[in-house]
């Protein structure tokens, strides 16, 4: 008997209309856990590196995490993996909500989509009954609207629906997959779904998910719940309110937005408004939010309530997740009530709330600079809010200028030309980043921004405070009950970290400590993404209920496969290395490992080179950021090594040419 997983994947070939239920190899869980890990393995094995993201040979994988469907609190992530039309690299975007557990209850760990349907269809998975159904009547419908229509026509109020809106159908490079209060938004996976002619995947399941050592596993769950309650009563002191608790940032609950509005940048990631947050703004925004928010909403089996049902004046009700509240507001230099309104339309269209507002702000900057003119933007309204709606409508329809903007800032800048490239200043690996511009280089964040394979800072940071605390006393207070650290030396790194002076950024934490801190933060994300745990209860917040010390016991009692800290860390490292390998095979190089070019005003090319050199070494990669033969062998990734040797990515007598950091290149 298989525990925690069901042991079956669904293989769907949309070109041939073929459906197959395929048993999986039980040894994979021990090596790759599940979720992101096993998704990556499938992509490595089955999608050749020269495959175009819009080729029928590209796979679109909806993977559940290993613990989804078990009683583990917050184990509800669906990890969607494919190749991104925007970056050309592996994309894995995750969504919470209710879809992944439902798929497990239907009896499957993954749905693997290949091929392309000649006409728009949706997939209906009802336990053992799986059918591909016509979706031509859903063409152009909103993502949420689609979900409602499907539930209604199937008479299945309990079915969970993951769907795309118009943006996905039109292959907008930042189209999302929406699912109730959640979405998998980053890197354009909605476009791949649209390219495959797949409007939605609908799931209903009424089977059981079993655990191997139930009582032991249940005790772990009870402990986690108990600690969540305790943390709720003990918010972290010395950090902004938004970072003091558990969960995805509590944007729906919290009114105090001083930190985001005065530290993050507005417009096209340009303007810092240090004086923005006044008493009047606070009062006004609080009222707006209270009026708009109908109810706080949680994902499956989680108490954190990170989303909300929103009813903004004049628009239908919809569900919002954390930070989209501010992204449109700030990009449009507007107000919170605008934010609540436009997100309704954006959610129905199904677009990424990080990228979309930035693309639109970028377009408006080009307009101000005269690079785009009235000829390019015929009939665009005069006010910022109106312009945002106008641009959004055109982007998702790929109409006029919208057709270019729909490719994201990086590609659009190059298509537009005339110096537009200069306005692309906030992307990494062709992907838009959080709008944040700071002064002094932070070595920890330098490595995370540069090397994160998710190309998104929130998906690699966490656990370790983002900035040093002002006084030693505060730090001592903080480390007292910080049992989540893998080793006590991490407490010391934090204790010794000063806001100013010798022990401050960029030279402290030391290079060695920086590597360890980054590696720890990243490792916890890789574990979550394989287990299907929400980062909001695990890798993202300070002092989370899940950590490297309790996770091995949780996984062991769930699966019956024994894990200790070393073995779990090794599995995370294996997955992480495999992802790097997949991207290396698609051309990823050291030169791509860099932060947004003006993220920090003060850069330190020499230090940055050393940081990358040492971090690569720490990771078992060579100077070009390619996993070495030795480390591949040690991780049981001999098949990757063989492939690299065959392709000449690695050679038998490896003497890597010296690396070069982007900062250095820029200087030249």
């Amino acid at each position: 008997m298989r525990y925690a997983e069901t042991g079956f994947n669904l293989e769907i070939d949309l070109s041939r209309g073929n459906i197959e239920r395929v048993a999986t190899d039980p040894r994979l869980a021990e090596l790759y856990l599940g979720g992101l890990g096993t998704n990556a393995k499938i992509l490595w094995d089955r999608v050749p590196p020269d495959t175009d993201p819009f080729s029928p040979d590209n796979l679109l994988i909806f993977g559940t995490g290993l613990l989804c469907g078990t009683p583990a609190i917050g184990a509800n992530r669906t990890i969607v993996s494919t190749f991104s039309p925007q970056t050309g690299l592996m994309a894995y975007s995750m969504m919470g909500g209710f879809w992944a557990p439902e798929l497990k209850f239907a009896g499957y760990d993954k749905v693997i989509i290949r091929g392309k349907s000649p006409k728009l269809v949706y997939l209906w998975i009802n336990n053992d009954k799986v059918e591909i159904r016509d979706a031509s009547h859903l063409k152009g419908k909103g993502a949420q609207e689609t979900a409602d229509l499907i539930r209604h026509e199937l008479k299945e109020s309990k079915a969970q629906v993951a769907s795309i809106g118009l943006a996905g159908e039109n292959k907008v490079y930042f189209a999302s997959i929406e699912q109730g209060r959640s979405s998998a938004s980053r890197l354009g996976i909605g476009a791949v779904m649209g390219d495959k002619g797949l409007k939605a995947i609908v799931v209903r399941g009424t089977k059981e998910v079993n655990t191997a050592r139930p009582v032991e596993f249940f005790e772990h769950c009870s402990e986690v719940l108990k600690y969540i309650k305790w943390r709720d009563d003990h918010p972290i002191k010395g950090v902004p309110p938004i970072l003091s608790g558990l969960g995805s940032p509590q944007e729906m609950a919290i009114y105090d937005e001083e930190w985001h509005t005065t530290n993050f940048t507005w417009g096209n990631a340009r303007h810092r408004r240090r004086d923005f947050w006044t008493k009047e703004v606070e009062e006004k925004w609080k009222k707006t939010q209270q009026n708009a928010r109908v109810r706080l909403l949680s994902c499956y089996n989680c108490p954190m309530e990170c989303g909300a049902l929103i009813s903004a004046p004049g628009v239908p009700k919809y569900m919002m997740k954390c930070y989209s509240k501010l992204t449109y507001t700030m990009a449009a230099m507007s107000d919170l009530d605008f934010g609540f309104k436009i997100v309704q339309r954006a959610t129905e269209y199904g677009v990424d709330a990080f990228t979309t507002p930035q693309v639109m702000a970028f377009a408006l900057e080009l307009y101000e600079a005269g690079i785009l003119t009235d000829k390019d933007l015929p009939g665009m309204p005069a006010d910022n809010e109106g312009r945002f709606y106008w641009l959004l409508d055109r982007i998702v329809r790929r109409e006029g200028i919208g057709d270019i903007l729909a490719n994201g800032v990086y590609h659009a800048a190059r298509q537009i030309g005339k110096g537009a490239e200069e306005y692309d200043h906030n992307t990494i690996k062709k992907h838009e980043q959080l709008p944040l511009k700071l002064g002094m280089l932070n070595p920890i964040y330098f490595l995370m921004y540069s090397t994160g394979e998710k190309i998104n800072i929130t998906q690699i940071e966490g656990q370790f405070p983002q900035a040093p605390f002002a006084t030693r006393e505060e730090r001592e207070e903080f480390v007292k009950d910080w049992f989540q650290v893998p080793d006590d030396r991490f407490k010391q790194y934090f204790l010794d970290w000063d806001p100013r002076g010798e022990h401050s950024i960029p030279y402290y934490p030391t290079i060695e400590a920086t590597c360890e801190i980054v590696d720890w933060q990243e490792k916890m994300h890789y574990i979550d993404d394989a287990l299907g745990l929400c980062a909001g209860l695990s890798s993202f917040p300070l002092k989370p209920p899940y950590h490297i010390h309790n996770l091995p016991g949780i996984i062991s009692s769930a699966t019956g496969i024994d894990f200790d800290e070393a073995k779990l860390s090794q599995a995370a490292r294996r997955n992480r290395t495999l992802l790097r390998a997949i991207n290396v095979r698609r051309g990823l190089d050291r030169k791509d490992d860099s932060p947004p070019k003006d993220h920090w005003r003060n850069r330190f090319p020499e230090l940055e080179t050393k940081l990358l050199d040492e971090y690569y070494k720490f990771k078992g990669w060579n100077n070009r950021g390619i996993p070495t033969k030795e480390s591949l062998q040690e991780l049981g990734l001999g098949y990757v090594k063989e492939d690299f040797l065959r392709r000449g990515i690695l050679t038998e007598n490896e003497a890597a040419p010296p690396g070069e950091t982007p900062a250095e290149t820029e200087k030249k």
Binding site: F105, E208, R295, L297, L309
Partner: protein, 185 residues
């Protein structure tokens, strides 16, 4: 009927639908507590509490499985509360032929909330323990009851199941089947 009066503890779960965030942790807790061996399997379809959710309409109603009934109601009334339209069925606890709710998914046998009765007893039913939003809270109230009434035994899970099988196949067929099974043919 002037029977003897006797003190009895009534267990009450208070459901505050305004506080429900739709997480379905209560369903998980119930399903694993009642699975055999205990905690071994999670299947919300076997839970004796179900959260009826229609998030966009702001409908979140945790309902407990109550009595089994052989026939469905004749009418279908609707309630409008604060502008939200509820089906009468949304509030109904019955394991009833009109819907799949509160039935074992495989056998179709009815499920009923037993307040997590167990030995040793739980401090609070499992669903209440797992609901951190306080949508479900537990109270014990002392009331006086008629002793005679109390003596009538509550039907157990097996009786409930049998009753539903009688309704489905008729007493005769069922007895036949049991006789055949006990003969081992």
């Amino acid at each position: 009927m002037a029977g003897e009066k006797k003190k009895k503890i009534v267990k009450v779960i208070k459901i505050d639908t305004d506080k429900c965030n739709g997480c379905r942790a209560c369903e998980v807790a119930c399903a694993i507590f009642h699975s055999k061996p205990q905690y071994s399997g999670n299947n919300p379809a076997k839970s004796r509490i179900a959260v009826l959710r229609d998030p966009i309409k702001d409908i979140f109603v945790p309902v407990y499985a109550g009595e089994y009934t052989a026939s469905e109601c004749t009418g279908r009334n609707k309630y409008v509360i604060d502008g939200r339209e509820f089906d009468e069925c949304d509030w109904c606890k019955a394991s009833c032929p009109s819907r799949s709710l509160f039935k074992e998914p495989d056998s179709g046998l009815p499920l009923k909330c037993d307040m997590c009765e167990s030995d040793p007893p739980l401090e609070e039913p499992m669903c209440v323990q797992w609901c951190l939003s306080d949508a479900l809270t537990y109270e014990e109230r002392e009331v006086e009851v008629d002793e005679k009434e109390e003596e009538k035994k509550k039907p157990g899970e097996m009786e409930l199941g049998l009753e539903s099988l009688v309704d489905k196949y008729g007493m005769e067929k069922l007895l036949d089947a049991i006789a055949r099974m006990s003969r081992g043919d």
